[in-house]
Symmetry: C2
DNA sequence: CTCTCCACTTGCAATTTGCAAGTGCTTTGA
DNA sequence: TCAAAGCACTTGCAAATTGCAAGTGGAGAG
């Protein structure tokens, strides 16, 4: 297997701290994580929509996290194509590429969260055809953005 | 495909908020995230080892997060088999099952973190054989725990 | 020309964090 | 036997972050 080259003699990859540390800086914040979910899975694109999420983010924190995510190259801030005085936040490719990781976490949570609203079959379906599941979400995102931007 | 049943007429799964919210409660905390990484990828098991991570968690926060992760059923707290007066934290099956999501995040971060120490080939290798990559980490964890517990 | 909507910003109290020092228990070494 | 060291925390406190409520400025509608 190709990845054998990554392992050290003790059997541990000696670099594995770094990429996870990077991920922790973004995902390891509850609000960034949930905004990413709203954009990638719920098709939300506006300040109003984010504010309406059931977790109840407050306005100052929302503004702060939106600019953080913009600075990190995850979101772009653009005038709303439907109404120039409003604003839309679109996911960049970098954000879109996070989708498989997010879906993985959904699969895990579906299995262990007793309060989950997701049917148990979701994990099975994903394991059956992970690429198909992700492709469906990607297509959904494209649909949302096409509807908004027409491009 | 099986998962078609999960989608609503508007094309959105109407439940997708919940499992991610559950994940956000655990992973959406920088320190829990990094402790999970230390246990799943770095083979760390003791308070001392966690404290030594380069991110520099402070002692009170470490104690707090260890008990949070124990309460969440992610870690078990047990006497160190090598030295009864010391303590080990072992990942439960629930934590171990989080590994694919963590590896997904590593793949993503490897692609976008300019400071990454991981070779670019990691993402390619993972895409080549995701199950093999994860299986390798699972085997590593088993090795660590076998070495410690002998069971 | 006012009223409303929108996307924030500000002020402030409350919570959480980080740091330094201390605690109690066990083991180690002289 | 008994002081010294190690371990896994706990405590106190200042500093940073958060949550809440209210306010601001600009565009668009009536």
């Amino acid at each position: 297997m190709i990845y054998i080259c990554l392992m050290t003699k003790t059997g541990k990859p000696d670099w594995s701290g770094c990429p996870t540390r990077y991920a922790a800086g973004i995902v390891g914040d509850k609000w960034c994580f949930l905004l990413l979910r709203d954009v990638l899975l719920h098709g939300k694109r506006t300040y109003r929509e984010f504010l309406a999420s059931p977790e109840g983010i407050s306005t100052n924190i929302l503004a702060n996290r939106l600019s953080k995510l913009e600075a990190l190259g995850m979101f772009t801030r653009e005038p709303d194509p439907r109404k120039a005085s409003s604003v839309c936040y679109f996911p960049t490719q970098k954000a879109k590429d996070f989708l498989p990781a997010l879906v993985s976490m959904m699969v895990w949570a579906t299995q262990y969260d007793e309060m989950t609203e997701a049917p148990a079959s979701f994990a099975a379906s994903f394991n059956d055809d992970p690429n198909g599941t992700i492709a469906w979400y990607v297509a959904e995102m494209a649909r949302v953005d096409r509807a908004l931007r027409g491009g």
